[in-house]
């Protein structure tokens, strides 16, 4: 029996081996079908790089626009109020494989997208006249949406990854105004910091 196992198991491994097999995959492929509406474009990685550059190029302006729009005490207490102290932010490993980096990027962008949605919602209430900020937040959210689409397309078409578990930040709807502003500022500070690293990694 041992002999049989010793011969069959490697054979099965070989027969069922495919790209990605054998490596830890931090995703949950729960019967997910990797189907897209139409074939993904071949230039996806280049587009992802351009999107990251686009986000990186506007992140600082968004951050400034945000804390400026919040008024005092934010502009003068950036370190205290807007430090990138986001504890549950998804990790990113710049030196990992492309697949891992894409999965981590997907989690980060999903996290940031959700958080930007909260910030946008809050700012429309807290600073209804900060149209420039609203516009910038919306534009950034749109870019992130496109980035998610491209990353998913890449994961699906090349690595057959159809589903990635993601985590989101805290819901700010129940918090007070200052906390909303502070959490938003911290998130955008973190975003500015992370996106530079991620853009450099691709």
């Amino acid at each position: 029996m041992k002999v049989l196992a010793a011969g069959v198991v490697p054979l099965l491994l070989v027969l069922h081996w495919k790209h990605g097999a054998g490596s830890p995959l931090p995703i949950t492929p729960v019967n997910a079908t990797c189907a897209t509406r139409h074939p993904c474009h071949s230039n996806l990685m280049n587009q992802i790089r351009n999107q990251l550059a686009q986000l990186n190029g506007s992140a600082n302006a968004l951050f400034i626009l945000y804390y400026t729009a919040q008024g005092e005490p934010f502009p003068n207490n950036l370190d205290k109020l807007c430090g990138p102290n986001v504890t549950d932010f998804p990790p990113f490993h710049a030196n990992s494989t492309e697949k891992t980096r894409l999965v981590e990027l997907y989690r980060i962008i999903a996290y940031l997208g959700a958080s930007l949605g909260n910030i946008t919602r809050d700012q429309k209430v807290l600073n209804p006249n900060a149209l420039s900020l609203h516009s910038k937040l919306n534009a950034t959210a749109d870019i992130m949406r496109g980035l998610l689409s491209n990353v998913l397309c890449r994961l699906c078409s090349k690595y057959h990854v159809a589903h990635v578990d993601v985590a989101y930040g805290p819901d700010t709807s129940g918090k007070d105004v200052f906390q909303k502003k502070k959490l938003g500022c911290q998130l955008l500070g973190k975003y500015k910091q992370v996106i530079a690293v991620v853009a450099q990694a691709f």
Binding site: T36, H38, I48, N50, Q54, G57, I143, N150
Partner: protein, 857 residues
């Protein structure tokens, strides 16, 4: 309860009212289909069904139905009675878009009553939308447009659909006024490919366009650069620097630009070479501009790789280049006004301002200088454009320069003539009269004309010469007369030419020419030509010029000589080839091989020297290759039979005669050689005589005759009938030995080969004629030939033609004096040479050649 009653009453009222109204409005029938929409060009059938009640009431059935379209009755041929209550009408190829169709019955024979009516709407299904394209105006949402195809005549809805690979966007419904374009509701997201297509749908069908897939960033139309500004440079008056602010899209895509400029008053734009502005930038320096000129600029941009659309043009911005020194001096002139002061006059200098493109800046002032003959110049600075000065009546030279912030222009120079300049015009002198109009704003264009006060004939005629002389023509050329000698306007030239003896011919030539070709000249003739120039007042002849026409035209001699030379060369070549091919034949007839007498061995012919007989070695005997024409007697009889005794005798006698002929010689031995073949012939003759007259020998006498008609100066030896016995030959056993050797050698093969080899060189029939011609030499010779012929007939019968050759050679050597003398002379040398080395051949060959080779001494 009351309420219930009221409600019931109301309900009944409504019910009955409705019923009664329904009765009143209830049609007598109906048409199916109710609201048809049909395709143009298709067939359509409508059915009208009558109600029973109506039929009973009006006493009609389906036969009473008639159809109308737009109030016009349809022919009954299109009707079909389906049953008692239903009638149909069919339309083929519907072309009208909107048809009102009614079903009618005729009641009581005269009343037409409308039963039911419908409206037929016709149109076309939508065509597939084509040319779908999208544009993303920066900062705005994406707009797509397409070609909807043909008109459908129906309400057609176009829907723009779009999606990413991972999600679908909301449809974009076209507005009624813009059915061929649609602007999506969402903001464009760059660097994500989107797929877009259009659906067109109406009552007759739905169709989808081709899908297009693109990255919106490749369809972007950027916002134009803004805040365009222009600045100049004090260092360089030909440049302007543009600066601008790019649109925000420059943050993540590269841009390229078009920059256009024009002067303020120009209507067309010039463009900076696109390759100079092919990457993102914020400024550009335009060069090669005119100084102190205002330029207007505009700029636009697009994605660097050329994908997408050019932005709109930016707002125009203008700037003025810095000043430069005036590029041209101002035009100026003068007015002389009479002055009351004696010896002076008032001169007003006037000039006009430089145009901006020449002033190159703001003219600050003008500098005027006046210089009188041999005096110092005087400088004046003038701010106006005119200046009056009192000057003497002398001649002055005035200069004018304009000055701006950068520098001065070049100087314009004007001569103010002396006051007494008028009159003094000479006759026969050419004057150039120039008129310059002076307008209020400056001088106009000048006009000049040449004029004479009075013309005269030229003082000198033109000198003609030949430019080229041909066999029948000559090209003459001459120079225009200098103005000084013209004395008037040269109207025409006349060329006179003649030969020494001929009449003079004149040819008129227009004055504008300086060359003329005389034709129809006679070759190899001396011509004299002269030329006259004419003004209105007369003409003047120039010097006479002579030339001779050549005898031959150029190339004519070559045309004759070359073919002749070629023909001669060809002939020579053919002759050489012919001679080369026929060299043996020619050699035989012209330079036959002659034995060299100097190589003969006289001692062998001496009676005291026994000859050596060696017939066995042909190679030894005729080792000399030139020895080719030796004639020998080929005796092949030895192969088949023994030689006749007569033959042997004749050989014996032959030897005797040889010795006897030596007696005729004068003692140098050469005479013995001169007997040549004649003794052999004689010996053959002796064959017969020997049988009858033994002990007698016929002596031969050499018949003297010239070679080739040459007259020899020596005695001729002729045949002798002397019967004097040849004692030597009887006493010499060597001769007998010779006969023996011959006998023995006859049967030897080498000897036969030798003979054949020699015979092969004489297989020509003309030798036979020579043989016959020998009869004409003398009667004595005739006798020889009689015998010879007899021997030929005896020998040739069994031995064939090879023996004939042998006899021919004999005859040549013996009898044909005039023809073979030269040949014999040549044999003489060769034969002597052979005789030194050999035995028997030496004794034989000199006999062949001796006759012609040695002259009697």
């Amino acid at each position: 309860m009351l309420t219930l009653k009221i409600w019931i009453v109301q309900a009944l009222f409504i019910f009955f009212t409705t019923e009664s109204v329904g009765e009143l409005l209830d049609p007598c029938g109906y048409i199916k289909p109710e609201s048809p929409i049909v395709q143009l060009g298709s067939n359509f059938t409508a059915v009208c069904v009558l109600k029973e009640k109506c039929m009973d009431y009006f006493h009609v059935n389906a036969n009473y139905i008639f159809w109308k379209t737009n109030h016009v009755t349809i022919p009954k041929e299109q009707y079909t009675i389906i049953n008692k209550t239903a009638s149909s009408v069919t339309f083929t190829d519907i072309s009208l878009l909107n048809i009102q169709l009614t079903c009618n019955i005729r009641t009581f024979g005269q009343i037409d009553q409308n039963v039911y009516g419908i409206r037929i709407i016709s149109g076309l299904p939508p065509e597939k939308p084509t040319n779908l394209s999208c544009i993303v105006n920066e900062g705005k949402k994406m707009m797509c447009q397409w070609d909807p195809g043909r008109e459908t005549y129906l309400e057609t809805n176009f829907t723009l659909k779009s999606e990413w690979a991972t999600e679908k966007f909301a449809d974009c419904k076209t507005k009624r006024d813009t059915p061929t374009s649609c602007t999506v509701d969402y903001s464009p997201v760059y660097f994500v490919n989107i797929e877009v297509w259009v659906e067109a749908e109406n009552a007759l069908g739905k169709v989808t366009s081709d899908h297009i897939n693109f990255d919106p960033v490749d369809k972007v139309k950027p916002s134009p650069p803004h805040n365009l500004s222009v600045s100049n440079s004090e260092e360089l008056s030909s440049i302007l620097k543009l600066t601008w602010i790019n649109s925000s899209i420059q943050g993540f895509i590269g841009l390229k630009y078009n920059i256009q400029y024009r002067t303020r008053d120009a209507s067309t734009w010039s463009q900076i070479p696109p390759e100079d502005t092919a990457s993102t930038r914020y400024s550009f320096t335009v060069q090669d501009l005119k100084p102190f000129t205002e330029y207007v600029f505009r700029i636009r941009c697009m994605k660097e790789d050329g994908k997408g659309f050019w932005s709109d043009w930016s707002e125009e911005a203008s700037g003025i280049t810095y000043e430069d020194r005036p590029s041209k001096a101002p035009s100026f002139w003068y007015k002389i006004e009479p002055s009351h002061t004696h010896g002076y006059r008032s001169v007003q200098l006037i000039w006009k301002t430089l145009p901006p493109f020449e002033a190159n800046g703001k003219i600050l002032d003008y500098e005027v200088t006046l210089t009188r003959w041999k005096s110092r110049l005087q400088n004046y600075t003038v701010n106006d454009t005119k200046w009056t000065v009192n000057i003497t009546n002398d001649r002055y030279i005035a200069t004018l320069t304009a000055r701006n912030l950068v520098g001065k222009s070049n100087a314009a120079v004007l001569t103010i003539p002396a006051y007494d300049f008028q009159g003094n015009l000479a006759e026969s002198k050419c004057y150039l009269i120039t008129v310059t109009p002076v307008y209020a704003d400056g001088p106009g264009s000048t006009e000049s004309i040449k004029a004479y006060l009075k013309q005269a004939p030229p003082s000198k005629g033109p000198t003609v010469r030949t430019k080229k002389v041909g066999k029948n023509e000559a090209v003459l050329e001459w120079d225009q007369l200098p103005v000084d000698v013209q004395n008037g306007f040269i109207r025409n030239y006349t060329i006179f030419y003649r030969t020494i003896i001929g009449n003079e011919t004149a040819v008129n030539v227009d004055s504008s020419h300086t060359e003329y070709t005389l034709s129809s000249l006679t070759s190899d003739t001396l011509y004299m030509v002269r030329m006259a120039a004419y003004t209105d007042e007369g003409g003047k002849d120039g010097p006479e010029f002579t030339f001779t026409t050549p005898k031959f035209a150029q190339g004519e001699i070559e045309a004759i000589v070359v073919p002749v030379c070629l023909a001669f060369l060809l002939t020579t070549l053919l002759g050489v080839l012919f001679c080369f091919n026929k060299r043996d034949l020619i050699k035989k007839h012209i330079w036959p091989n002659v034995p060299d007498p100097s190589k003969s061995h006289i001692a062998q012919w001496s009676p005291h020297t026994p000859p050596r007989h060696n017939f066995n070695s042909k190679d030894q005997m005729y080792s000399d290759g030139n020895f080719t024409d030796v004639s020998v007697v080929e005796i092949e009889a030895a192969n088949d039979k023994k030689p006749f005794p007569e033959d042997l005798k004749s050989l014996d006698l032959f030897k005797k005669e040889k010795i006897s002929t030596e007696g005729h010689s004068s003692g140098i031995g050469g005479s013995s050689c001169m007997s040549s073949s004649r003794p052999s012939i004689s010996s053959s003759d002796e064959n017969e005589s020997a049988q009858n007259t033994s002990g007698t020998v016929q002596y031969s006498t050499v018949v003297h005759s010239g070679y080739r008609h040459q007259v020899p100066s020596v005695q001729v030896f002729s045949r002798s009938e002397s019967t004097q016995p040849l004692l030597d030959s009887e006493e010499r056993p060597e001769d007998l030995q010779l006969v023996d050797n011959i006998d023995s050698s006859v049967g030897n093969l080498p000897r036969q080969q030798y003979f054949k080899q020699n015979c092969s060189q004489h297989e020509t029939s003309p030798d036979i004629s020579h043989f016959e011609r020998s009869k004409q030499v003398s009667s004595v010779n005739e006798e020889d030939f009689v015998r010879l012929k007899q021997q030929i007939s005896d020998i040739s019968q069994p031995y064939g033609s090879g023996q004939m050759k042998m006899f021919q050679e004999i005859s040549v050597a013996d009898a044909f004096g005039p023809r073979t003398e030269g040949q014999v002379e040549r044999f003489e040398t060769v034969g002597m040479e052979a005789a030194i080395d050999e035995g028997m051949p030496k004794s034989y060959l000199p006999q062949t050649v001796r006759r012609g080779g040695y002259m009697p001494q």
